[in-house]
Structures are given as C-alpha cells and as structure tokens.
C-alpha cells in the first residue's frame, strides 16, 4: 500500500466507524455498534503507525486530493509533529471508545448512536488537522472539528448544555474566523503561498512589528489552545459527557489548537525568524500568564471536571510556551507535552467519570474516603497527577525538563523569570491535584461511623463498571511507560 493510500485509509476509517455506528444503531444492534468503534479505532491507529515508519526514515508521505482554489490544495502530508498528534488522537480513541461504552451505559445516557457517530467524526477531523499540508486544509478541518464536537457538547440538550454550546461555538468560531482566517489570508497576501514549508514561508521580509501581530493573531486565532482571555469555552464544554471531556477536551480538540500553533511556528514563521524576537517574548509572556492564572483558578474549583478543565488550560500554555521559544528544544518540549499531557489528563478525566458513574459525585469536597472504595481509580488518579505535575518517573517530567532547558536557552534577559513561572506552575499543580488524592485516601468518609478508625468496618470495593476502570488503569500505566520511551519521541521530534 502506497503511503498516500495509507493516509487516506487512516482518514477514512473514522468515517467508516461513524457510518457503521449509524447502521448498527438504526438496526438496533447496540452491542455490534459498540464493538465496531474500538475495532475500527485500532485499525486507524495501525494505519497511522504505518505512516510512522516512513516518517522516522525521513520520508514525508503525501496525498493531494484536489485543488480547491488556484494555488490552494486540499492536501495532506505527514511530518513528525502531525504524526505524534495523529498517534495520540487515534491511540487514545481506542481506549476512550471502550471507556465510553462503560460510561454511557453505566450512566444511562440517551442518544448513544448519535454520540458515537459524532465522536468518530471528530476523530476524522482531528486526523485531518494532524496531516494537513497547508493552512487551508488545517483551517478546513479545524472548523469541522468545532462544528462536529458541538452536538457532543450539547448532548444533554438541557438549557445549561445549550448555553454552554453557544459559548463554545461563539468563542471558537469568533477566534478562528476573525483572527486565524485573517492571519492565513494575510500570510497568503504576503507570500502567495500557504504551504507548510520547513524553515518557514515568511522569509525575513516582514517587519518585527508585523511578525508580532501575525504571531499573536495565529496564537489567539487557534482558540482551541485556550490562551487567556479566550479560554472560557473549555470550562463550558465540560457539560458534555465525560468521555467527550476526556478525549476531545483534554486531547483531540485542545491539542488541535496548540498543534496548530506549533505547526505555524515551525513551518510558517520558521524558528530562525522568531527565535529571540519580540514576537517570541510577547507570546511567551501571554503563555506564562495563562499558565499561572489558570492554575490559580483551578485550585478554587470544587467541581472536579471544572478543576481539570482549568488545569488543562494551564497545561496547554506549557505547549504554547514551548512553541513561543522558537528553539529546537522548545518545540521538542511542546511536542512531548502534547503526548504526556494527553496520557495524564485523559486518565484524570476517566477517573472523574468513573467516580460519577459509581457514586454520582461531581465535587472534590464530596470525595472524602472514596479512595478506599475505589482503589484502582484513585491510584490511577494519583499516578496521572504526578505526571501532570512533572515528577519522575512519569512521562510528564520530561516535557517540563525540556521546557526548563529551553527557557534557559532563549537568552532573554528574563529567562530566569520563565524558569520561575514553570516552577511555580508545577507547585500550583500540586495544590489543585493532590487534594483529590489526599481526600480520597486519607479523609474519613462522612458516611462512615465515628469509630471508623478501628479498621474493622472496611467498606467493600465499589468501583465503576469494568469497562470504565480498565481503560483508566491502562492510560495511567501509559503515563508511566512514556517516561521510558521519551527518547524515541525525542528522536522523532528533533528539528
């Protein structure tokens, strides 16, 4: 199979999954429907993996579908960053689609067929973003991802869901149309091309001020990256069922935003143009601000999913910071953080969902003592938290390590300040994640009797359904495993 065909297969398999969901769902075979999705997901992952071989050997598999406008093609090309994002999205899709079955059934959700259909289509859009060869293709799938996830956000159909959906669409489309599209058109006007090219396409012609404006337009235009002040959509999106929050709003959708920023920095601006420039400093400052503010807000959230959402905003800023450094180390750190944060945050959301299914509890303050009845879930939560905070031997520590190295390399007068920001941010992460674990394992459950210290009344294990717990244990272990294979990822991402 030629690599072009493989790209097409990888892109179309999620569509196949969506179609099969509709067919089995309408024929009344929910079991077949729910088996088909993970199987097709596995196929997708294998197809993306196949492309990986080629990319590691230095190849850049390509697929040109059609020329939409003169000089503007709907075309795909797999390069390291896109491969990484594609692997993360398609790999975690398998796990999530298993988890979703347990969650949706355990939680008695309605409209499951519609849910799984749009879920698969969202992955299709995410892969389209991952493999986009030019800004047009990226933008096309970027907007498609916004629209395809909208029915998932508003899944419950309640007033709250509708309001959240409005904020979601409003912010994401506002930023993408008024900033991102404008930036793309401006790039087109300046250079006459919108192809992603190693070394960038802007050349050295544009003035420093213009570069800064353009970079900020791209950074804010990729509203999915949730840079403050355009982050409100992400906490709002938490009304969606937990599998959506887990895969889409911790992995596929938000990573689409930061991925776009990374791609633009590397392939549109070029590292040489940005490194050490005012544009780089401006974006680094904004990213640092978002990182700290979101972490502070996260500490004050009692709703577990909202807390995780703000944590995501903070963690995404790490990737933007890495991209903004515009050094090889920065981009490497950003790329690593895409994978590490994905594995960690998806575990945390899986845990939040498992707790919801098993106990119907949503608030951190209600979790006292739950760790003893749900040991697997809380253990996984603990591991994933360590990864998010950045403590070895978990994957997340590498991303933080390279970010700190990168911050020192930038050569700005304020480099120490950025180092400080990173350290404070990790500290804040301890404060918003660890209380969950501490409450779970060490606080006494309010329902347990006052004599609970005797140890005689150990409550029975009451975990969520197996299909919920197995995936979250798996992804927690993945966070651990990523610590040891980070070298391979670093080779892939060496620019």
């Amino acid at each position: 199979m030629s690599s072009g065909t493989t790209i097409l297969v990888a892109l179309l398999l999620p569509v196949v999954a969506a179609v099969s969901c509709q067919i089995f769902g309408r024929l009344g075979h929910p079991n077949l429907r729910d088996v088909a999705t993970p199987l097709v997901g596995a196929g997708t992952f294998v197809a993306v993996w196949q492309l990986g071989d080629d990319v590691l050997r230095g190849g850049r598999p390509e697929l040109v579908l059609l020329e939409v406008l003169p000089g503007v093609e709907l075309a795909f090309q797999v390069e390291p960053l896109g491969l990484l994002y594609g692997l993360v999205a398609s790999g975690l899709w398998i796990v999530t689609s298993i988890y979703a079955v347990g969650y949706m059934r355990g939680h008695h959700e309605h409209n499951q067929t519609r849910f799984f259909t749009f879920f698969a289509l969202s992955i299709f859009a995410a892969l389209g973003i991952a493999f986009a060869r030019n800004l047009f293709t990226l933008f096309l799938f970027y907007e498609a991802l916004t629209l395809l996830t909208f029915p998932l956000v508003t899944h419950h159909g309640t007033n709250e869901a509708r309001r959240a959906g409005r904020v979601y669409l409003g912010i994401l489309l506002f930023t993408s149309i008024s900033f991102l599209l404008f930036a793309i058109l401006f790039t087109w006007r300046l250079t006459g091309t919108i192809e992603f090219t190693p070394g960038g396409i802007l050349g050295s012609e544009p003035s420093s001020g213009m570069v800064t404006v353009l970079l900020l337009l791209y950074a804010f235009g990729a509203g999915k990256a949730a840079l403050m002040p355009f982050h409100r959509w992400l906490p709002n999106a938490m009304v969606a069922p937990t599998p959506v929050s887990a895969l889409l709003h911790a992995v596929a959708v938000v990573k689409a935003g930061v991925f776009a920023i990374l791609k633009v920095v590397v392939y549109v601006f070029g590292l040489d143009l940005l490194a050490g420039s005012n544009a780089s400093l401006a974006l680094m400052t904004i990213a640092s601000f978002t990182m700290l503010m979101a972490a502070v807000v996260a500490i004050r959230q009692d709703n577990l999913k909202a807390r995780l959402a703000y944590s995501t905003i903070s963690q995404l800023a790490y990737i933007v910071l890495g991209a903004a450094m515009a050094t090889a180390t920065g981009v490497l750190a950003g790329g690593l953080q895409i994978a590490m944060h994905a594995a960690g945050k998806i575990t945390l959301f899986f845990c939040a969902g498992a707790i919801l299914v098993a106990t119907h509890k949503k608030k951190v303050s209600e979790l006292d003592g739950l760790g003893r009845t749900m040991p697997w879930t809380f253990a996984a939560f603990f591991l994933a938290s360590l990864s998010i905070i950045g403590i070895p031997p978990l994957g997340g520590s590498w991303a933080k390590w390279y970010l700190m190295v990168g911050a020192l390399e930038t050569g700005f007068a304020w480099q120490a300040a950025f180092l400080g920001v990173l350290m404070v941010s990790s500290l804040l992460a301890v404060f918003y994640l660890m209380p969950v674990v501490v409450r779970g394992f060490f606080a006494t459950s309010p329902t347990a009797g006052p004599s609970g210290s005797a140890g005689g009344d150990r409550k029975p294990i009451a975990e969520a359904p197996f299909l919920c717990v197995a995936p979250l244990v798996l992804t927690a272990l993945l966070s651990l495993a990523l610590f040891f294979v980070a070298g391979e990822l670093a080779t892939l991402l060496s620019f």
Partner: protein
C-alpha cells in the same frame, strides 16, 4: 451554429409564455416550462463552454449590423450569468408544484407559469443584449412579471409588498431610462460597445456624470443596494417561497451584472474608480449593508424576513468586491453571485419545504422540527454554514477572494470588517439552528403530525445544498469563470 442558437435564450421562454396561456393545463404547462428552461440551460452551458478562454459570440437581430441594429453579444461575463439564471430557474421550477402560489385556483395556474417564463425571458434578455435601450425593455419585462409573481403570495400583505416593489422598481427603471437617454444624447448611439468607444468620460462633462449617476442609482434600486433596499425584505417574505428562491437567486444577480457592466465597460474603471472615486461611496455603503442588514436579520422572528435581510447584507459583499476594482476582489464579488444564489436559493427552498409541512416559518413554529424533518433541517444547516463562510462551502470561497482583494488594495480595516460581519451571520444562522434542533415544541402546537417534506421538494433543495459543498471544494467552474470575467471587465470588454 452556436451564434444562431444564442438568440433562443430569450426567444424560447418569450414564446413559451403565450403557449402556456393557450394550453391552460397546469401540469402540462409545468412540464412544458421545465422543458423550455432545461433547453435554455443546455444552450447556456454550450455558450459558456464556447466563450470560455476569451471567445465572443455575436448575433445580429434581423441581420442588421451594429451599431444600427440590435446585437446580442455573449462573452464570459454574461455567459456566466446566463448559466446561473437558467440553472436556478431549472432547479426552482423542478421543485414540487405544491410550493407554488398558494391561493391561485387550479384553472388559472397556467398563467403563473406564463409569468414565470416571462420573468426568465426578461432576465436573460437583460443579460444577453448589447443594446442599452433593449436592456430597459427587458428590465421592464422581468420587473413587471416579478411584481405579479410577488403578489401571488397569498397573504394580503403580498399585494401591498408587490405594489411597493412596483413603485420602487419603476422609479429605478425611470432613472435607468433617463441615464440611457443622456448617454444617447452624448454619444448618439445605443449599442453598448459603441457607447463605450465614443464616450470620453471626464469630470467636467456634466451630462456624462449625470448619466452615470442616474444609471447607478437606478440599478442600485433594482439590486437593493443599502440604503435603497427597502422593497426587498417585504417582497421576499410575502412572495410564494419558490418565487423568493428564484428572485433571490437571479434578479439581484442580473442587476449586479448590469452595474458592473456600466461601471467597467461603459465608463471604464479608470474614470469611475480613479477620477470619480466611486469606491468612497460604494465601500462604506457595502460595509454598512453587511453590518446593519445582518444586524436586522438577527432580530427577525420570521425565517423568510431573516433570509431577506441576510440577502441585503450579502449584496453588500458583492458591491464591496466591485469597489475594490481589482481582479481578485471583483472576481470575489462575481463568484459570490453564484455562491449566494446557490445558498440563498437553497435556503428559500428549505423555507418552502417547511411552509408546506409546518404551515408557518415563524421562528416559534419551527421548534423541534429537526427531529420531524431531519433532511430538510440538515439542508438548512449546510446552507446556513455556507452563509457564515465555513471552509468547505461556497461561502468560504467568496470570502477568501473578497478579503484577498481588499487586502490587495491595502484596506486592512475593511478586511477585518468582512470577517467580523460573518460572525453576525453566525448569530442569525445559529439562532435558527438552535430553535430547530434544541427547543422543545410548544405544548399548544404539537408537531407530531409533521412529516419529512415530499421527495419532489427535497430533491431540488438538496441539489442546492450539495452544490454549496461541491462548489466549495472545486472552484474551476465558479471562481475560474468569475476570474476570467473580472479580468475581461477590468479590461473594459464584455
């Protein structure tokens, strides 16, 4: 051969109209008009194929050579319009006849088809002719027949809107007529190319400037350029839905062609845009239209009025493309003719489907329709996304070139405004979509009896919805032709 059949574009529907009156059988008339329009469409496509790449077809009526005789002259510019008008006429006519005028008794339905054919013939005549007075004649044929079509809406206010449309349209027609008269006085000829050759426009020549002013204002009324648009929302919302679809997709488009032709071919871009600086008026008006009309659309509670106001805003995009006076921007405006025809035609056909099944297109009556009429609602979503300009739809193609053209002129602020205004479209489209899918139907008006629209309605609607996506991804026949037309216009040809 092709020179000979070009004249059939006008003659066929013009002759078919009285035939309909004689046949008097509504279903037969419908099939007959469908056949005639299909033939016109085929001819238009053949002509477009022939002239693409710089060809010109000229037909001398009665064998009298121009400038004395009347000439029918087709180049890429108007072949594009011919294909657009006939294609939209074909789609609209093939729409199930139950979407037609509601109160016309069966034994008089044949007259409706006769008027429809007259309207088509007028629009095609305006497009094809190379003679200034001839334009006026066909303008009146198409206008008078469209007043009748609008008045058939069934509601009492349809008659009032038609009358208002008639008054405004006649004023526009008179302005146009006076403009042609002045041009004749200055140049002594009515042949458009001959006028263009003889006319040496300068700011000192009061007659010429006045002629330009009269022509532009006259056409602007017909085109519903903001703030001369007041007739349009009423006319579109009270006309029979099929008629709204047809007029929205064709009538304003032909007027736009006339405006472009007057500005670029007759007076020439150097005079209009460098000496006179018409863009100083046209650009602000376009931007005002984009914002005020879109803003008005947001507050409409009737889907048809909402779409009508949106049309005024979209005309703003077209005139904005015109005011850039460069190939990219003008091509963006011209390609938006086609793109807007496809999406707005599709949306009005959706309205026709909804009206037929639900009985009302008031926003409250549409609550929860998404579940009862999934295919109609999906078409609404696709055409609506196109209106916003989501990539992968025709709306995006228009926006891409309009913004590029504006940036080429160095009007960065205008580029930002174009993008911002499309967010208003997001608001009004989003409002409808939310009601259709998420709002619970009111207890007092259960919608359990509502079923999906019949196939005869769905098929044409979906043809346009699919076209909105197809031509959003392949633009050789839309942007490609529009670009050629724009370059031809800028060079002063037709």
């Amino acid at each position: 051969m092709i020179e000979k059949i070009v004249v059939l574009e006008v003659v066929l529907p013009l002759l078919a109209a009285p035939v309909c009156v004689l046949v008097r059988h509504p279903r037969l008339c419908r099939l007959f008009s469908l056949g005639v329009v299909a033939l016109c469409f085929a001819i238009a496509v053949a002509v477009l194929l022939e002239v693409r790449g710089g060809g010109v077809i000229s037909y001398q009526l009665g064998g009298w050579p121009p400038p004395l005789g009347i000439e029918h002259r087709v180049s890429t510019v108007n072949a594009y319009l011919l294909a657009l008008v006939t294609a939209m006429a074909l789609v609209v006519l093939s729409f199930d006849s139950r979407g037609g005028p509601p109160r016309v008794p069966e034994q008089r339905k044949h007259l409706y088809y006769a008027v429809f054919l007259l309207c088509i013939s007028g629009l095609l005549g305006m497009t094809i002719t190379g003679d200034a007075f001839n334009i006026f004649v066909f303008l009146e044929i198409s206008s008078l027949s469209s007043y009748i079509l609008v008045s058939l809406g069934g509601h009492r206010r349809a008659v009032l809107s038609a009358f208002y449309y008639l008054v405004m349209g006649t004023i526009g027609g008179v302005f146009f007529m006076l403009g042609v008269g002045l041009l004749y006085q200055v140049t002594g000829t009515l042949n458009l190319r001959d006028i263009a050759v003889r006319l040496e426009p300068s700011l000192d020549d009061r007659g010429t400037v006045l002629a330009l002013a009269l022509l532009v204002v006259g056409i602007s009324i017909k085109l519903a350029v903001f703030p001369l648009h007041h007739w349009l929302p009423n006319a579109y919302s009270f006309a029979p839905p099929k008629v709204s679809a047809f007029l929205a997709a064709t009538a304003t488009k032909v007027s736009f062609y006339l405006l472009a032709m007057i500005l670029f071919t007759i007076f020439g871009a150097p005079f209009v845009f460098e000496e006179l600086r018409l863009q100083a008026v046209l650009l602000p008006l376009s931007i005002l239209a984009m914002f005020l009309a879109s803003g008005a659309a947001i507050f409409q509670t009737d889907l048809r009025r909402l779409l009508a106001y949106s049309s005024v805003a979209q005309i703003g995009y077209m005139t904005l493309g015109l005011s850039t006076a460069n190939a990219t921007g003008l091509a963006g405006g011209l390609v938006h003719l086609f793109n807007h025809a496809v999406m707005k035609g599709g949306l009005f056909l959706v309205v026709a489907c909804l009206l037929y099944r639900v009985g009302s297109v008031h926003i409250d009556a549409l609550a929860g329709i998404g579940r009862r009429m999934p295919l109609t609602s999906a078409a609404l979503v696709i055409a609506g996304l196109s209106l916003i300009g989501v990539p992968g739809t025709v709306g995006f193609v228009s926006k891409w070139y309009l913004v590029s053209g504006v940036l080429e002129r160095g009007w960065t602020a205008a580029a930002v405004l174009i993008l911002l205004s499309s967010l208003l479209a997001l608001v009004y489209v989003g409002k409808v979509v939310e009601v259709v899918y998420f709002r619970k139907p009111p207890e007092t008006q259960p919608i359990d009896h509502v079923r999906e629209a019949p196939f005869g309605m769905l098929a044409p609607t979906w043809v346009l919805a699919a076209a909105a996506v197809f031509f959003g991804l392949t633009t050789n026949w839309t942007y490609g032709v529009a670009r050629e037309a724009a370059e031809l216009l800028l060079a002063g040809g037709i």
